[in-house]
Amino acid sequence: MAPNLSPDTEAFLLSLASMLPVATCHISICKALGSMRSVFWMFISFAFIGAALSIYFTTSHRAYHSSEFITLASSYVLFSLIYMEAFSMLCRGFSLSILVLLKQKPGLNIDEIIKHYGGVGADALITKRLQSLHKIGLIKETENSIMFNNWAGVIVSRTSLCYKLIMKTGKGG
């Protein structure tokens, strides 16, 4: 690190630079153990690199102030959130998948895009989301209907409905 950088600047830049080891760690775990739990591996990478970063920062040669640690922690969380958003788009980016499809098969009309989406068609999208909600325990499915499994699902749904109402976002989705 250049000697003329202020400790706050150094903390900020260290957090930014730490996203490279986070990505390397995340990719390595996904390659070694499979990408089925890629989101979980992402959080493991954040925790691992975050711990290493804070140890490095607190044991570095100079004394540090709490304000520098606040800068380090908040900028690390900030860049982690940006990484998380980008990774989430890669995993489940709806618009991104449409672009990839149209690059592979240019000249499709809307009905054909819906039919060929993800190689499985648009109907599979809702099935996959229902399976994910079921897997994390928010909903349960019987033969005829879909319902909440516990209060967590009810709270998430009601809170988001309130937010949509206050911010007038419409029905969303």
Binding site: S6, D8, A11, F12, S15, H26, I27, S35, S38, I70, T71, S74, L78, L81, M84, E85, F87, L90, C91, R92, G93, F94, S95, I98, L99, V100, L102, K103, L108, N109, I110, I113, I114, Y117, G118, G119, A122, L125, I126, S132, L133, L138, I139, N144, I146, M147, F148, G153, V154, S157, S160, L161, Y163, K164, M167, K168, T169, K171, G172, G173
Partner: protein, 153 residues
């Protein structure tokens, strides 16, 4: 840290005003509001802490908020949960879910939006990726291969 909290509260309040009283509801308006609101309180207030300290905490809060906002507004899963909530007895059949939340309509809306923003080019009802989309697709394909991601839909 009180200045950061005040800035964040002003931002959320302004977002509410923009969402309720204007037709500018896009993410870019949200981001530009956040940037403007962040600058004013810092430069008008006291300088007891550094710019990096202020902006890293402020931007972290804004990022949390954007995650929450985009998650609630765009998430298919959240919309499914909402449809269950507004159904009688908090139960919905698959057929009723498809009726109240037609996926085809969502696709049409998204494709129209992407065409409007020049991510797609429409010619005689057929769609093609635009120049700026080409690079994005290239990066996406490379990254998906790098992470070994499958079933990305």
């Amino acid at each position: 840290m009180s200045l950061v909290i005040i800035s964040f509260i002003i931002f959320v309040f302004l977002h509410w005003i923009i969402a309720n009283f204007t037709n500018r509801k896009g993410i870019k308006h949200l981001v530009s509001t956040a940037i403007i609101i962040g600058f004013f309180p810092y430069y008008l207030g006291d300088k007891s802490y550094s710019e990096f300290e202020f902006f890293s905490v402020y931007l972290m809060l804004i990022m949390f908020y954007l995650h929450l906002h985009i998650g609630i507004e765009r998430s298919v899963s959240i919309r499914v949960l909402n449809e269950i909530t507004i159904s009688p007895d908090n139960k919905i059949t698959r057929q009723n879910l498809e009726r109240s939340y037609p996926i085809n309509q969502m696709f049409r809306h998204r494709i129209q939006l992407m065409t409007k923003n020049n991510w797609l080019i429409e010619q005689d009802g057929k769609f093609y990726v635009s120049g700026k989309s080409n690079l994005l697709v290239l990066v996406t394909n490379f990254s998906r291969k790098l992470y070994g991601l499958e079933n990305t839909w």
